[in-house]
């Protein structure tokens, strides 16, 4: 019957029909591993931790619900007085505390890493504190947790813990001389009469011990099933408030955007101050000198006046060029015709010969286009300044909902995020700017090159 072949064949007669089951070695091995796993499960650390969590968190929740329930009821009954409101607030504060303990239990026993919710932020004064306590979403969610948790803990006790308990009772039973022991929890419904009876016979004792082992093998899985719901409850009700978390993310992003625009404004102001304004002051000064000299035409040294006017004229033209550059820094006119044209313009202006490939089926939003443009401008400027490269390439392509920019050069490499940011608007600033739209910037630059900077931007932001 058993052949040493690729598979074992098992023939079974069922109601006159013969069926054959072919089992491969892998399947046999898997079945063996499963059996071993099931046999070992009651003795694993995890099973005991889960049992401990189930019991302790259940007990804690029962005490907490009792306390919070009684104090809240008192608070509501006395709500017409100021005192009642204060009791209600204290009750909510304690609910928050119980939530924290449960989170700690889940963390240490289940390895469930739930982030702490935002800390309680009281407003100024006692009335502010009351108001904050009563409107503390974290506390109210903790109350919700307690209300759901307590019935669930009762059920978990009657099923999960009961199997452990009854397993222990059944296995220990024959060694303590038998007698009638009531079953606990779910097994009570399973055994006749709801009790484990021993009449002292050997067969009976063996039967009880076998039943005990069956309970023992089932117990960890039942507890695990209950605990998995516990995990869900803890994560969803005792973790950070999703509304507050979203708000926090948005606030953070907004701060960054505001900072980025403030930095841009500062740069523009600096450019205007150091460049154009100084240029115009010098120009006005020269014209002022020329005017003074011409006030007395008889004695005016025309050659001198001509030199002053010449300088003023040159200064005016330089100021125009500077203003144009600054304006281009605020909004590059090349972007009006699209990213492809703008990048081509940048590449053409670059000191290092640069090729551009753009493959975008549709135009990204203007803000993304602008960021992509500045990234390429800054990166090409870096290539020209630091890389000692002989050529560079820019590619810009759509990848799913992302726009991927890659700027590559064949220079000496060795660039780092910190050192490249030597100018005030360097690579670090660029990373910040990219982050304001949830984009990412990666740099690989081994010594000896090549340097590759990859920027991922969402197509719409």
């Amino acid at each position: 019957m058993v052949e040493q072949a690729e598979s074992s064949e098992v023939r079974v007669r069922l109601g006159g029909r013969e069926m054959s089951l072919a089992i491969t070695h892998e399947q046999a091995a898997a079945a063996k591993a499963l059996a071993r796993r099931i046999a070992r499960e009651p003795f694993t650390r995890r099973a005991w931790h889960e049992l401990a969590f189930s019991l302790v968190s259940g007990g804690l929740a029962a005490v907490a619900l009792g306390f919070v329930g009684v104090t809240m009821a008192t608070g509501v009954l006395l709500a017409v007085t100021f005192f009642g409101v204060a009791i209600l607030a204290l009750s909510l504060r304690s609910a928050r505390g119980f939530g924290g303990w449960t989170r700690g239990l889940a963390r240490s026993l289940l390895g469930e890493t739930v982030d702490d919710p935002e800390p309680f932020a009281a407003r100024r004064g006692f009335l502010g504190w009351l108001q904050s306590a009563l409107r503390d979403r974290v506390a109210w969610r903790a109350v919700g947790y307690l209300v759901l948790k307590v019935p669930w803990a009762v059920l978990a006790g009657l099923v999960g813990f009961a199997f452990w308990w009854d397993a222990a009772v059944c296995i220990a039973h024959p060694f303590f001389g038998g007698g009638s022991v009531p079953a606990f929890g779910l097994p009570r419904a399973l055994v006749p009469g709801g009790t484990f009876d021993g009449d002292g016979t050997f067969t009976h004792a063996v039967a009880l011990v076998i039943a005990g082992f069956v309970f023992l093998l089932a117990a960890p899985w039942l507890v695990r099933a209950f605990v998995s719901v516990d995990r869900l409850l803890v994560r969803s009700l005792l973790g950070p408030d999703p509304v507050a978390a979203r708000l926090h993310t948005l606030e953070h992003a907004r701060t960054q955007t505001v900072d980025a625009s403030a930095a841009t404004l500062r740069r523009i102001e600096r450019d205007l101050h150091d460049g154009t304004q100084a240029q115009l002051v010098a120009l006005a000064m020269r014209l002022g000198m020329a005017k003074e000299k011409l006030e007395d035409p008889e004695h005016a040294d025309l050659a001198q006046v001509r030199a002053l006017v010449d300088e003023a004229h040159r200064g005016a033209k330089e100021a125009i060029v500077e203003l144009r550059d600054i304006a281009r820094g605020i909004h590059p006119p090349a972007l009006d015709i699209g990213l492809e044209g703008a990048l081509a313009t940048l590449a053409a202006r670059s000191a290092v010969p640069t090729t551009v490939t753009v493959d975008l089926p549709a135009r990204p939003t203007p803000s993304i286009e602008a960021i992509a443009y500045y990234c390429v401008a800054e990166l090409l400027a870096n290539v020209a300044q630091h890389a000692q490269a002989s050529r560079a390439s820019v590619s810009c392509a759509q990848q799913g909902t992302w726009l991927r920019l890659v700027v590559r050069d064949d220079g000496r490499g060795g660039a780092e995020l910190s050192t490249l940011g030597s100018s005030s608007s360097g690579l670090v600033g660029l990373t910040e700017r990219v982050r304001t739209v949830d984009g990412r910037l990666y740099l690989t630059s081994p010594t000896g090159g090549p340097t590759v900077v990859t920027v991922d931007l969402p197509l719409s932001a």
Partner: protein, 219 residues
Amino acid sequence: MTREGLRVAIAEDSAILRDGLVQLLVDRGFVITGAVADPDALCSSVAQNPPDVAVIDIRMPPTFTDEGLRLALDLRARCEGMGILLFSQYIETRYAADLLADDAAGIGYLLKDRVADVKDFVEALERVAIGGTALDPEVVTQLLGATRRTDSLSSLTPREREVLSLMAEGRSNAAIAAALVVSEGAVEKHVANIFAKLDLPVSDKDHRRVLAVLRFLDS
């Protein structure tokens, strides 16, 4: 009124402006003892070759904030009798207050734009060099606008207010008379009226007079 041979040191980080200033002042017969781009360089230039007046840009390296102001306060403590003309693209009234904290003698604070009116600029520089005061009309306007003593100011006639502004800029009676095209005697009468109406201590020195007016406006 040009005094030949007044010695001037310049600290200005913008090369265009620095060169322009040197050209203008040399053309007017001043002697340039040093034209530098940062505070440290000015310190050593002043130590080697002390000028009658230093022209200092407020925003200079390394941080481009108020280096010039701090340099000015430092030089004021160390080099007695040297005039200091702060030169800026913006007017910060607080800077003026810091600078004039105890004395207005030999102090100037002007917008850079003022170099366009060469004659006024040179006069202001000379005034500072010989221990007078030159405050930008913009400073005075800001102080006049910000003062809480509007009741007393409203008792002045329009003419008296003009005189008050020029006085606050640091001009002498003669200069005020020239600017308003009136006689010096008329200016003296206006000044006496102003001092009486604003309840200011009468003083003969121009720069003390400026300080009194500024204290009044700033209070």
